[in-house]
């Protein structure tokens, strides 16, 4: 799993820093984006294996960005995990309906997030 690439999209710089640190500490190559445009720019440079997607973003939000990526054959099989502070009833359904592969609420558990990501990557390898 080491060396696999993760794109973290979050409009909150502090949270971005936290997750980026955690992922690097777990051996991932990390790209970050504060908004959807930056995420698309990052995707042009490197194709990640996983995207950790915040939902509330300025401009194009995380749900819309997910829909676009899942509709595009070039990005369609990237694992997208919603990581959001929207934790009310129905928010998970919205995320999954938009095409997210998983849904994790903030505050995140730094001890289990790496495992969750690893599980998704392992599952993807089995499928392919």
């Amino acid at each position: 799993m080491a060396g696999e690439r993760i794109l973290i999209v979050d409009d909150n710089a502090t949270n971005l820093k936290l997750v980026a640190y955690l992922m690097r500490a777990n051996g991932y190559e990390v790209d970050t984006a504060l908004h959807a445009e930056a995420a698309l720019e990052a995707l042009r440079n490197h194709r990640p294996d996983v995207i950790l997607m915040d939902i509330q973003l300025p401009g194009i939000d995380g749900l819309e960005l997910t829909r676009r990526l899942k509709a595009d054959p070039a990005t369609h099989d990237i694992v997208i995990i919603a990581v959001t502070a929207y934790a009310m009833k129905g928010d998970q359904d919205k995320a999954l309906a938009a095409g997210c592969d998983d849904y994790i609420t903030k505050p995140i558990d730094t001890r289990t997030l790496p495992e969750t990501i690893a599980r998704h990557l392992a599952g993807r390898e089995v499928l392919s």
Binding site: T14, N15, L18, P107, R111
Partner: protein, 676 residues
């Protein structure tokens, strides 16, 4: 010469055409006469006089009775006949109720007989000796008969018309009054009118309109004058219609009333038609209320939706800083960061910043909730604007200096002294200023102005040279959690509640907020408030927890946190103290002034003022000068309250034993209540 018809009616009442000689149809003549000769003479005379005659002679009562079954214009009867007489003829005609002109002729005329005949209904009494008088007598009789018939007819018509009118009046579906415009009195009232005024017809008769009305009409006019006005108009021939308020047994009766001048009657009589509007108004009222309920329902649904949205946003906004706090804390705690590294310190800093952000968010939310619940008290007091503004500027001076932003103030001397809640005005100024500093780039400037706004209001304005706001976004500015997108710099800079809170604080004091802005040209936020705010929120009576026994010592608990309040009340109440609670500094001061307490506990973190401000305020009061104050705080540092007459400092969460021990040391002892 043609006959002039006076009245022409149907066959029911018989022909009423006045018979003149040469009339088209022959004169229908019935003659009671025993002498054939006399009959012939009579006919000859009449024909000579120009009458076409269709005559029939009867010689007995039986024949007469038969003949009277048919229609006749005239009856001429001999006075004396064998077994039959003129008087008998007249009586027979009268007995059958016939309106038939009768003339008596007699071969032996006498005054007595003539009188008798005329009394019995004859129109004339002639002597057979003077046949030339026949024609004029017939003419006269026919004329009289026609006149009489016409008179009867008119009378009948009148009676009929009156009956019809009476029935129409009486049975009319609306209240009607017959009214004498000259004497200004009611002459009559129909059943609906007596029902409307709930009194008898006699009570209504001879009353005037204003006696049935309240002293004044809803538009303020005296009822007597207003009624006189409309009656005057009716007298000029108009039939005025107008809104009129009647009154019956204390109940107001709104009506549409119309005075119809019955000029045709010859006297100045009028009919007053009253249309009772109560039912209609009631129906309108029901419609209005149901519409109101619908609107209210929609509003409640909208409020409920907003509340859910608010909760979702709240959850989101609370989780965001918590994510950083817990995440970094876990990393540090789990040893994932080298404690000696700068990263370690950086992450601690992130935890602190996020923690403070969270605290600010919670404070703002609590304030908002209080304003919304009407529980935020405003304590207006005389305020010197330059001093207050100076204090706010002082707080923000450092952050302004860091961004090299020039802060200026322009204070209009005419509004240097106001009566406002200083804490709340500071909060408004602070929110606007800190907002302006956030969105103004390095080297810009922020100006705070206080100026007059009309005679009774003032305007606090904060102008910046910041990025400005797009017109479409202006409406969202003062709405909770509606932070505008301001690029990557957006997050972490505010709770999304500051402006919403500002708006609510200002509006709750009878003011208004607003903003003018152009993209790239900076923004000017303002708040307009009364120069002298009246304490509008209801004065809350202190929450008192009755002592378990008479003569208990009373402790004032100044504490805004509900759970801490409950803990203190439980601890003190169980020990037999009476407790009064103040949730804000302002409330505490009000209670402090109102009575003497045996002791007070004070939380240093209050929503409206710092604990130190409160201590200073309490110290300056004339009441409770010897009351021991126990400060209850999360940071028990004696240096915090140095210089204030504080009896003790206790640590939160409150330890029941140390609280009671502290009170005991202060000499505020109470007997233990009897255990139930």
């Amino acid at each position: 010469m043609r006959a002039q018809p006076i009245v022409t009616r149907g066959a029911r009442t018989g022909s009423l055409v006045q018979r003149e000689p040469f009339a088209d149809s022959p004169l229908q003549l019935l003659v009671a006469e025993d002498s054939e000769d006399d009959f012939e003479i009579l006919l000859r005379e009449l024909r000579k006089g120009g009458y076409a005659v269709s005559a029939e002679r009867v010689k007995s009562t039986g024949e007469l009775e038969d003949a009277l079954g048919r229609a006749w214009d005239l009856l001429i009867s001999d006075w004396s006949m064998p077994g039959f007489g003129g008087l008998q003829v007249l009586e027979t005609v009268a007995a059958r109720g016939l309106d038939l002109a009768c003339i008596i002729v007699s071969g032996t005329p006498g005054e007595e007989a003539a009188v008798e005949a005329l009394r019995a209904g004859a129109l004339d009494f002639l002597s057979k000796d003077k046949p030339r008088r026949i024609v004029p007598a017939v003419q006269r009789a026919l004329r009289e008969a026609a006149d009489r018939r016409a008179r009867v007819h008119v009378e009948r018509e009148l009676r009929f018309s009156e009956a019809r009118y009476r029935t129409g009046f009486e049975l009319a579906p609306e209240p009607l009054l017959a009214y004498d415009l000259d004497r200004r009195v009611i002459l009559d009232a129909n059943a609906k009118a007596t029902g409307l005024f709930q009194c008898s017809r006699d009570d209504l008769r001879s009353a005037d309109l204003h006696a049935l009305s309240p002293p004044r009409q809803p538009d303020g006019r005296m009822s007597s004058e207003a009624a006189a006005h409309y009656i005057g108009r009716a007298l000029t021939g108009e039939s005025p219609a107008f809104s009129w308020m009647f009154q019956a047994h204390g109940e107001m009766i709104p009506t549409e009333t119309r005075i119809i001048n019955l000029a045709t009657v010859g006297r100045n009589l009028a009919q007053i038609n009253i249309s009772d509007l109560r039912e209609r108004l009631r129906a309108d009222e029901i419609r209005r209320r149901s519409a109101e309920l619908e609107t209210q329902n929609r509003r409640i649904q909208e409020a409920s939706r907003l509340k859910s949205e608010f909760l979702a946003n709240m959850s989101h906004e609370l989780r965001t800083p918590l994510n950083a706090i817990l995440g970094f804390a876990e990393l540090l705690h789990d040893g994932q960061v080298d404690p000696a590294s700068p990263t370690h310190k950086e992450f601690l800093g992130d935890i602190l910043i996020s923690g403070r952000h969270l605290l600010q968010l919670i404070n703002d939310v609590l304030d908002l909730a209080k304003v919304e619940a009407g529980k935020l008290e405003f304590r207006p007091e005389p305020v010197e604007v330059p001093r207050l503004v100076g204090e706010v500027i002082a707080i923000l001076r450092t952050s302004a200096a860091q961004k090299q932003i020039r802060m200026e103030t322009q204070l209009d001397p005419s509004v240097a002294e106001l009566t406002v809640d200083p804490a709340r005005l500071k909060q408004v100024a602070y929110n606007y200023l800190s907002n302006a500093l956030k969105f103004t780039p390095q080297g810009g400037s922020v100006t705070l102005r206080v100026k007059a706004d009309g005679e009774h209001r003032f305007r606090l304005e904060v102008q910046d040279t910041g990025i400005g706001i797009a017109p479409d976004d202006l409406g969202r500015l003062f709405v909770e959690f509606q932070q505008l997108e301001a690029g990557a710099a957006k997050r972490h800079q505010g709770t999304g509640l500051g402006l919403a809170l500002t708006r609510r604080l200002v509006e709750a004091q009878g003011g208004s907020v607003g903003v003018r802005s152009t993209v790239g040209g900076g923004s000017t936020f303002h708040a307009c408030l009364p120069r002298h705010v009246i304490a509008m929120s209801r004065t809350r009576t202190p929450v008192v927890f009755p002592p378990s026994q008479i003569g208990a010592r009373t402790v004032l608990v100044v504490e805004d946190d509900v759970r801490d309040q409950a803990q203190l009340v439980a601890a003190l109440g169980d020990a037999g103290y009476a407790v009064e609670i103040a949730s804000t500094g302002a409330e505490a001061i009000a209670h402090w002034r109102a009575r003497e307490y045996d002791a007070a506990t004070i939380d240093l973190l209050l929503p409206d003022m710092s604990g130190l401000e409160l201590l200073a305020a309490l110290q300056s009061e004339a009441t409770n000068r010897r009351t021991p104050i126990i400060v209850v705080t999360v940071v028990p540092d004696a240096r915090l309250v140095a210089g204030f007459p504080v009896h003790d400092i206790l640590h939160k969460p409150i330890d029941r034993e140390s609280l009671l021990a502290s009170l005991a040391r202060a000499g505020v002892l109470t007997l233990q209540p009897e255990k139930a």
